[in-house]
């Protein structure tokens, strides 16, 4: 317990130092890389809550990531053009508004998708979540007002009162704080009564139902919470990259989130972040040397899936001698 807090604090401090390290070594791209990895980590962690703890294999998680991103993009678009969304909702560039809005809209989308998908199970669930994600993907492609296939440029990062958000390092620290807060939120969530029931449903849904738990409602709430997390990550990503595009919700992106979860360790808190960090680093590093970086990534993934149980977290735990 004590040890866990110590590790968390150390990791947080190290991550907070990244902009300084980057400046000192001249590797200015680091800040950007680590920031992106943290945001992907949040998205993967949100997926892990339903996938690892709840046993729901959603293949459409990128949809909520993209929707969260588009909320920021669309609000900025209207702010910039001085128009309003559907003629009613004025745009804004205030992060204190855009982020909650993104979380809310992603949650609503997740409620819709979840309410329909969770009636099925197994293969059908995987495929219907994928189908809904594809629908959102094509929906945004067909919206010419918001850039269609090209997406929306957000020329300026959302403003936060009292901070200079145009400073890349400040933005990074904001992202880091969100990631840390989200980690703590998830940690609390899985230890809560609700989290215990969700874990029970994963292990034996029939048993939970026979004890009077309406499993559908619990799974739906978990699905919504998870979608909201992905929406938050997407909104941060659009702020970080100043760009929202349909690519954010492409089905291969959903696949990538799943890879991050598996790579890091299903059903662990830190796993998705580690998986996101590793996958993103491997991808960007390899991409620098060869355009065929997907080949080694594919082989790595195949080997990990076929040979290991529990991903990198299991490995770390083995190396450090037990303990989370």
């Amino acid at each position: 317990m004590k040890r866990e807090y110590l590790i968390l604090a150390t990791v947080f401090l190290l991550l907070a130092l990244v902009p300084f390290l980057a400046a000192a070594t001249g590797q200015t791209s680091w800040t950007r890389l680590v920031g992106q990895a943290l945001i992907y980590g949040m998205a993967a962690a949100s997926l892990n809550f339903i996938l690892g703890y709840g046993g729901m294999i959603s293949f459409g998680h990128a949809a909520f990531f993209g929707i969260g991103g588009y909320v920021v993009g669309i609000m900025y678009h209207h702010f910039d053009a001085g128009t309003s969304f559907l003629g009613v909702i004025p745009g804004t560039d205030q992060m204190l508004i855009t982020l909650p809005a993104a979380v809310l809209v992603a949650g609503l989308a997740a409620a819709l998708v979840g309410a329909m998908s969770l009636r099925t199970g197994g293969v059908q669930f995987i495929m219907i979540t994928l189908a809904f994600a594809q629908m959102f993907f094509f929906l945004f492609i067909s919206l010419k007002t918001y850039g269609g296939e090209d997406g929306i440029m957000v020329r300026r990062t959302n403003a936060l009162p009292g901070l200079d958000m145009r400073n890349r390092d400040t933005l990074y620290w904001v992202v880091l704080c969100f990631a840390a807060a989200y980690y703590l939120f998830l940690r609390r969530l899985v230890q809560s009564s609700f989290g215990q029931i969700i874990a029970g449903i994963r292990q034996n849904e029939r048993r939970m139902a026979s004890m009077g738990i309406s499993t559908f409602r619990y799974k739906l709430y978990a699905f919504i919470l998870s979608g909201m997390g992905a929406g938050l990550a997407g909104a941060l990503m659009v702020n970080f990259l100043r760009f929202a595009s349909p690519d954010m919700m492409h089905w291969t992106r959903s696949g990538e989130f799943m890879i991050m979860v598996i790579l890091g360790g299903v059903g662990t808190l830190a796993g998705p972040f580690i998986g996101a960090g590793v996958l993103f680093t491997v991808e960007t590093t390899l991409a620098r040397y060869t355009e065929h970086w997907m080949l080694p990534v594919g082989i790595l993934l195949l080997v990990v899936v076929l040979t290991s149980k529990g991903g990198l977290m299991a490995l770390i735990r083995k190396l450090t001698g037990g303990q989370k």
């Binding site: 329909m116 293969v123 809904f132 594809q134 799943m258 890879i259 997907m294 080949l295 993934l301």
Partner: protein, 304 residues
């Protein structure tokens, strides 16, 4: 009217292509219980091998043979090397491992053939067109594709309903334990079914190659539609794959052909175009969502 008939035929041709892919996938799904995202990669292998050989030899038929052989071999290798280890795993592992296979297949193909699409020509015999109704000349090659698709459907029907292998396949789709209990060589059956599925995917690939461009990633686009077909038809049901394949192929083609035009009557041209294309792309997914809401296991779901 003539346009409508032409598009209906195009839809039918796309539908049988979907069926060829879905038939193998649904069998693999139903019998081994494994989700194979890499099925589209086998389609691509067939298309590339077929296109390359037919460009080298100048003969479509040599290409066809090569495509079939290549995809079947690739399928058997994948089964022996990877799939075997996945049967006992959960769906998550299957999705990820086969997702990895897609990456590997795509990049290997880029390494071998580059990123430029390959173009092949139609077989001499079917390079012309036939006037099916007065005023509508229709490419005879497309008719040939439809005919082959229907012939394969009939062949599969015979295989599944009239032979011992088919009996096992049917039994396997509804009750995996039972087949095991019959003392059948499961390993052999699995490899054979997987090989057959790969062969059908390769056939679809070769036949599509003169009509569509043969390029890396061609499998990724069609595999999603194929999954929709399999799930709507009911996992494990070849009949379902046939019905759903044809219906979806038609709907998809019709939407794409006519929706933008319809929308143009109510909104400006470029927006109508984009919206029309977007909505028609959503069409099959929407259908799947609706059908699964009514029948959570698909139209022709096998028991169990």
């Amino acid at each position: 009217m003539i346009l409508l008939i032409e598009q209906l035929l195009n839809g039918l041709q796309y539908g049988v292509t979907l069926f060829l892919l879905a038939a193998g996938l649904t069998l693999i799904f139903g019998i081994m219980g494994v989700i194979n995202l890499a099925h589209g990669a086998l389609y691509m292998v067939g298309a590339f091998a077929g296109a390359w050989v037919s460009i080298q030899t100048g003969s479509f038929w040599a290409g066809l043979l090569a495509g079939l052989v290549a995809s079947a071999i690739a399928g058997v290798l994948v089964e022996l090397g990877v799939m075997r280890r996945l049967y006992a795993r959960d769906h998550l592992d299957q999705v990820l491992a086969t997702f990895a296979l897609i990456l590997i297949f795509n990049q290997s193909t880029v390494l071998i053939f580059g990123r430029q699409p390959l173009f092949t020509s139609l077989p001499e015999m079917f390079s012309g067109s036939v006037e099916i109704v007065p005023g509508l000349p229709y490419p005879s090659y497309r008719l040939f594709v439809i005919a082959v698709g229907l012939a394969v459907a009939f062949g599969l029907y015979l295989l599944i309903n009239k032979t011992r292998i088919g009996m096992l396949v049917r039994a396997g789709a509804s009750n995996r334990q039972m087949v095991r209990a019959l003392g059948v060589n499961i390993g052999g059956l699995y490899t054979a079914v997987f090989g057959l599925g790969a062969l059908l995917a390769g056939l679809a690939g070769v036949m599509a190659s003169p009509i569509m461009s043969v390029q890396v990633g061609m499998g990724d686009e069609i595999i999603l539609a194929t999954f929709v077909v399999v799930v709507i038809g009911g996992v494990g049901s070849v009949k379902g794959a046939f019905v759903a394949g044809i219906v979806l192929g038609m709907c998809d083609t019709m939407l794409r052909a006519f929706l933008p035009g319809l929308l143009q009557q109510v909104m400006p041209g470029s927006e109508a175009q984009a919206l029309g294309v977007g909505i028609s792309s959503m069409g099959i997914y929407l259908m799947m969502a609706i059908i699964l809401l009514v029948r959570p296991r698909g139209l022709f779901a096998a028991q169990g």
